[in-house]
Symmetry: C2
Subunit: 284 residues, 2 copies
C-alpha cells in the first residue's frame, strides 16, 4: 500500500514513536542527513552515507549501514510514484534509549528514524536570479570535537533562523565567535575571487555539507575551477566577485544581496552559472 507524504518510520515501523529516554531526545545525541530524492533514488547517497558513517565514528555511535539502507529501500517502496520524483528524505540516527546521565553504556541499540517529506517549494528565481541573505547576530561556538558533523545539537541554527521573518530573505550568514565566516543556517557558502573558488574552513565550526563536498570534489574539478578551503572573514565575502550558497536539497543559489548594516549587491556571475550547469549534468 502506498501512502501520502510524510511517511515516517522509527526502527522500520511506520508511525511508531520514540522513547522519552532516547538520547536523541534527552541530549541531541545523534546525527542526521537530509537528502533529495528524485526518480526514486537519492543521487548523492554515497556522499550522505560516508558523512553519516564518519559522524557516527566521531561520536562513537555504532551504526550498521545495511540496516539503514534496508529500511530506506523499504520506505521508498511505500512512496507514491508521483512523489518519488521529488521528495526529501531525512534520516536520524541516535545513540538510542538509555537511562539518565551523560555516561555512555556500551550496550546501546541506536534508534533509526527515516522520514520521506514533500519537497520544499522554493521560488524558481532563487535559482536563476539569486537570493537575498542577511548577516545573523548569533555567533557560532567553536568546538573542534563537533565541527563538521551534522549532529542533532541544532539550537544555534534554531536561534539564528528565528532572527528574521521577512519572506524576501532566504538565508542567514553565520560567523563564529572569532568573526570568521563559516556557513549559512541551512547552507554552505562559496565565494568567487579572481576566477577561483574559496569556501570557509570548517575545522572549528559549521556543518560540512554533502553538496559542499560534491562541489569541491566533483563539480569544480569538472569545470576546471581551482578551489581553496581556508579561513574566511566577512571582508572576504563582501569583496567577492560572486557569492553562492549550496545544499543537497536545492543545489546552488546565487546570492544577489547581502544585508549586513548596508546592502552588498552581487550579480549572478559566470562561474556560478557554470557550476549550476555542471551540477545539473552530473546529477541528471
Amino acid at each position: 500500500m502506498q501512502h501520502t507524504l510524510p511517511i515516517i518510520t522509527v526502527n522500520g515501523i511506520i508511525d511508531a514513536q520514540v522513547s522519552p529516554l532516547d538520547r536523541g531526545f534527552t541530549y541531541g545525541d545523534g546525527v542526521f542527513e537530509t537528502c533529495r530524492m528524485t526518480k526514486a533514488i537519492i543521487p548523492l547517497w554515497s556522499f550522505h552515507k560516508q558523512r553519516l558513517l564518519n559522524s557516527c565514528g566521531k561520536l562513537a555511535i555504532p551504526v550498521d549501514i545495511n540496516v539503514i539502507e534496508a529500511q530506506l529501500a523499504n520506505i521508498i517502496l511505500k512512496v507514491n510514484e508521483s512523489d518519488k520524483n521529488n521528495a526529501i528524505v531525512k534520516i536520524i540516527l541516535t545513540r538510542g534509549p538509555v537511562g539518565r546521565g551523560y555516561s555512555v553504556s556500551t550496550l546501546v541499540t541506536p534508534t533509526i528514524v527515516i522520514g520521506v517529506f514533500p519537497a520544499t517549494q522554493h521560488p524558481e528565481f532563487y535559482f536563476s536570479e539569486g537570493v537575498n541573505v542577511r548577516l545573523c547576530d548569533l555567533r557560532l561556538g567553536c568546538n573542534t570535537s563537533l565541527a563538521g558533523i551534522k549532529h542533532l545539537n541544532r539550537l544555534e541554527q534554531v536561534l539564528a533562523r528565528a532572527e528574521w521573518n521577512d519572506k524576501e530573505i532566504a538565508e542567514g550568514i553565520l560567523l563564529d565567535g572569532n568573526g570568521n565566516l563559516i556557513e549559512a543556517v541551512f547552507s554552505n557558502v562559496f565565494l568567487v575571487k579572481n576566477d577561483e573558488l574559496v569556501t570557509p574552513d570548517l575545522s572549528e565550526a559549521g556543518v560540512a555539507g554533502v553538496m559542499r563536498r560534491f562541489i569541491i570534489e566533483r563539480v569544480a574539478p569538472k569545470a576546471g575551477i581551482n578551489i581553496t578551503v581556508r579561513k574566511c572573514t566577512l571582508d572576504d565575502l563582501v569583496s567577492s566577485d560572486e557569492v553562492f550558497l549550496c545544499n543537497s536539497n536545492y543545489g546552488i543559489w546565487p546570492v544577489k544581496t547581502f544585508i549586513a548594516g548596508q546592502d552588498y549587491k552581487f550579480s549572478v556571475g559566470p562561474l556560478t552559472l557554470q557550476l549550476q550547469n555542471y551540477l545539473q549534468q552530473l546529477l541528471s
Copy 2:
C-alpha cells in the same frame, strides 16, 4: 495505584512516547531540569522553576508553569512512599512536534516529559573525603546566546564524559576554547582563595546550576563568606586553597585530587565543610 521507579509521563500520560518530529528530538530544541526529591517535595523547586522560565524565555519556548506543576504533583502521587524520600525528578520541556526545517512556527504546543528516577547512588566518602577529578580534553564552545541555559544540546557533555572509564574519577573539569575554567561535566565549580569564594563567570559557556545559585545567594551569605563571580583560569584552580563541586542532586563534593598532567592535591578545607553544614541546615 503506585508504581516502582522510573515513572515517566509525556504530557501527563504515563509511559507515552514522543513524536519523531518533536523538536527536542530533531534539534535538541528544549530545556531540562534535574531535581532532587526528598520528603515528597523538591527542596529547590523555586530555583528550578525560575531557571526553567528564564531558559524558555531565552529560547522563546512558550511555557505554562501551572501545567508543569500540575503534572508534577500528579506524578508524585504515583511514587511509592519509600521512594518519595529520595528520588530524582527530571523535567524536559521542548518546543514540541512540528514539521521539517529550523523555522519556528508560532503555533507550537510544547512537549512536557517528567520522569521520577531512583536516586543516584554516590559513595558516602565523595561527600566526606572528597572526589578525584580530571581535566577533560574537550573544550566547550563559547556562545553568549546559549550560555547558562540548561538546554538539550548536550553533546559536549556526552563527549567529555566519554573521555574516562576509571571509576576512581568522579568528575571532569571543562575549560572553554579560550582556556577559561567553566564547570565540570554535571557540576559547577567553586574555588576557595584567601577565605573567599570564587566561581567562574558563565556568560560565554556553561550551565548556570541551581545549586551554584543557591550557594551564591543563600549558603555563602549565611556563612558570611564573600563570593566573586569572574573569569577563571586553570592556574586559578590549581593555586586554590580548597576546591569543591556542586549540583542540586548531590550537594557539595570537596575535590581531593585534580588530575591534569600531574596530580594536584587539596584537603577538605574549613570553608567547604562550613558550606556543607549550612547547606544541610538550609535544606532540612
